[in-house]
């Protein structure tokens, strides 16, 4: 858009230098508007013979720089992938049980036995439970901050939520293990007594359970989902909000007609980032989960484990095969994250016709 008048200005004075206009500031073209009747002192628009394009200039240098930066990412990713696969393959070869279905982790034994099934299951289950708890609360907070709270209060509360994101995960883990475990155990007993007929609320012993881990995890993903959603909601065009209000919408109806649909892709992205954090969270879950290797839907009983928590717990004692096994589990975690991200992109892409015109 912006360069259209510039182009015509140059054309008017005989200079088609737009494509290579390095030599002078962009704003200078305004001066070209003066009549070019005096060829003695050609302005930026030229007037003399067409200058040659520069063989090497800041333009090309910058282009090269950005290209190098882009390539660097690919190189790093490839290097990491090669390293991980090279380490993982020997350990997988040595495994005497099925890597996918064996429920246990004894890579230091002879022969080594380890399986990823329970870990992958625990990873996905804790992350999903955490999102299930965090997302509704996060969206509620985000909507309150962006559309209901008085501006000052909203900014202050938003700052507090962001502060929550700055707490190191080990602090959450210790807090969860030492202070939060007891209330969650009490809650577990209560859930089991009244909702025991739902299979996920099984018998105890209650302690470091999937419920405790996912509640702590929920608190940890809350800030990222909240602040991203708040930003997205804030960007709803005023024109759309007014359109809804002028049709006779109440505040909540306005939010439903204008704000939520507009923010949908952004909210999905926020949830996916939260899921990414939940899947990869290490130390807080290493401290709050029971570190068992069984697949169980009972979220109340002590137990549960995730790939990342298992790596943190077992790395110190691991021998060569043990490290290879942990790296293999890391590759599986990477694959899970990748699948999640591709799914999220697919969801956003499916509605691109509407979301693109929204931008």
């Amino acid at each position: 858009m912006g360069d259209t008048p510039q182009r015509s200005a140059h054309a008017g004075t005989g200079g088609t230098t737009v494509a290579t206009s390095h030599g002078w500031p962009a704003g200078a073209s305004a001066r070209v508007a003066e009549p070019s009747g005096n060829p003695g002192t050609p302005g930026p628009g030229g007037g003399d013979a067409l200058p040659r394009a520069k063989a090497f200039g800041a333009e090309r240098a910058f282009r090269g720089l950005t290209l190098a930066a882009g390539t660097f990412v690919l190189v790093v990713i490839a290097a990491i992938a090669i390293f991980l696969i090279a380490k993982a393959v020997p350990a997988l070869r040595a495994n005497s049980e099925s890597f996918w279905t064996f429920e246990g982790w004894f890579p230091n034994d002879n022969p080594p036995k380890f399986g990823i099934g329970a870990l992958a299951f625990g990873t996905v289950l804790t992350a999903l439970l955490a999102l299930l708890m965090a997302v509704p609360v996060a969206l509620g907070i985000a909507l309150y901050l962006s559309h209901y709270a008085p501006r000052r209060l909203g900014n202050g509360l938003g700052f507090l939520v962001d502060l929550l994101a700055a707490v190191p995960s080990v602090v959450f883990g210790l807090w969860g293990r030492d202070y939060f475990a007891q209330p969650v155990a009490d809650l577990s007993a209560w859930l089991n007594r009244y909702f025991g007929w739902i299979p996920i609320f099984g018998d105890g012993p209650y302690g470091n359970s999937i419920l405790l881990g996912s509640v702590v995890l929920a608190i940890m993903v809350l800030p990222i989902v909240t602040s991203l959603s708040r930003e997205v909601f804030r960007q709803t065009p005023t024109a759309n909000e007014e359109a809804a209000l002028a049709l006779g919408a109440t505040r909540w109806e306005m939010v439903r007609t204008a704000v939520l649909p507009y923010g949908r892709p952004g909210v999905i992205a926020a949830v996916m980032l939260g899921l990414g954090r939940a899947l990869g969270e290490t130390i807080a879950l290493a401290l709050t989960l029971g570190s068992t290797y069984a697949i169980s839907f009972n979220v109340l009983a002590s137990g549960g484990n995730t790939i990342a928590a298992n790596i943190a717990n077992r790395f110190a004692e691991a021998n060569d095969t043990g490290r290879g096994a942990l790296i293999a589990s890391g590759l599986v975690l990477f694959a899970i994250t990748l699948i999640v991200n591709i799914t999220a992109r697919a969801i956003i892409y499916r509605r691109r016709e509407f979301t693109e015109s929204a931008a």
Binding site: R151, N240, A246, T257, A258, S357
Partner: protein, 258 residues
């Protein structure tokens, strides 16, 4: 389906700033009334106070009395959303809901009113789109996004959305200022047809447009920047543009000022 609007001593504020002062005018049913005047004279503020959209902005408030068929719009017990359903509004820039299809845009207001039956919605959508002279252009792509239409079509879509809920009064805030002359003409034609059913109040910067479409014209002006806008003259459009009784109006109409 058209009602009389009566404003008595309407004064509107943005926080401490008084934007319009003591506006008195009566708009008859089934007429087109144009509000003209220089920028910042409070035409839009007055328009927005008619359907209580003015108070949406933080710190904005309205004093005086505004009635629609003798019911006080600003009565403490009146439901704001009911006022806005009765008095629809079309904005300066076309603002279809970007995430909705053409069809969903038109029926958005009906959905807000709890209409769920598909057959009723479809019927209402066709009727509104036909009234907005848009049906033939979009009938084959009702499922496509509303934001994919051209600017003029989008504005007519917004008009369809507004009239789909069958309001009594339609307010238009410079509805053509973002449009090309052909789309402008289409919307002016539309206003002629719509005034059979609705009371229309339009803010415009384009005096030819005011002269073409309106029955009555209100001229607003300010003394200087920072002063509240006032109603200078309100009369039949014919009279305002041929023989205004106020010097200020004449200066503005003839282009000597503003």
């Amino acid at each position: 389906m058209a009602k009389r609007i009566e404003a008595t001593d309407v004064t509107a504020y943005y926080g401490g700033f008084k934007a319009i002062e003591n506006i008195n005018l009566t708009v008859e049913p089934k007429t087109v009334t144009a509000l003209i005047g220089p920028s910042g004279c409070g035409k839009s503020t007055f328009l927005r106070s008619i359907n209580r959209m003015h108070e949406v902005l933080p710190g904005a408030r309205v004093e005086g009395s505004l009635t629609i068929d003798d019911q006080d719009i600003y009565d403490r017990d009146v439901d704001v959303t009911a006022v806005r359903r009765m008095i629809g509004m079309v904005f300066q820039r076309p603002n279809p809901f970007p995430t909705m299809s053409i069809f969903e845009n038109v029926v958005a207001g009906l959905r807000l009113n709890g209409v769920r039956r598909k057959s009723i919605l479809e019927e209402a959508a066709e009727k509104a789109l036909r009234s907005a002279n848009l049906w033939d252009e979009v009938k084959d792509r009702l499922g496509k996004p509303g934001a994919g239409l051209s600017g003029g079509q989008q504005q007519r879509l917004c008009i369809a959305r507004t009239i789909a809920v069958e309001p009594q009064v339609v307010l238009m805030d410079e509805p053509c200022s973002a449009l090309d002359p052909i789309s402008t003409l289409a919307i002016e034609d539309l206003m002629f047809q719509l005034k059979d059913k609705f009371t229309i109040i339009i803010v415009t910067h384009n005096m030819q447009q005011a002269a073409r479409v309106s029955d009555r014209t209100a001229f607003f002006s300010i003394e200087k920047t920072g002063d509240p806008g006032r109603l200078i003259e309100y009369d039949n459009t014919q009279k305002i543009f041929s023989n205004p009784s106020q010097k200020k109006t004449e200066d503005y109409i003839t282009g000597r000022f503003g």
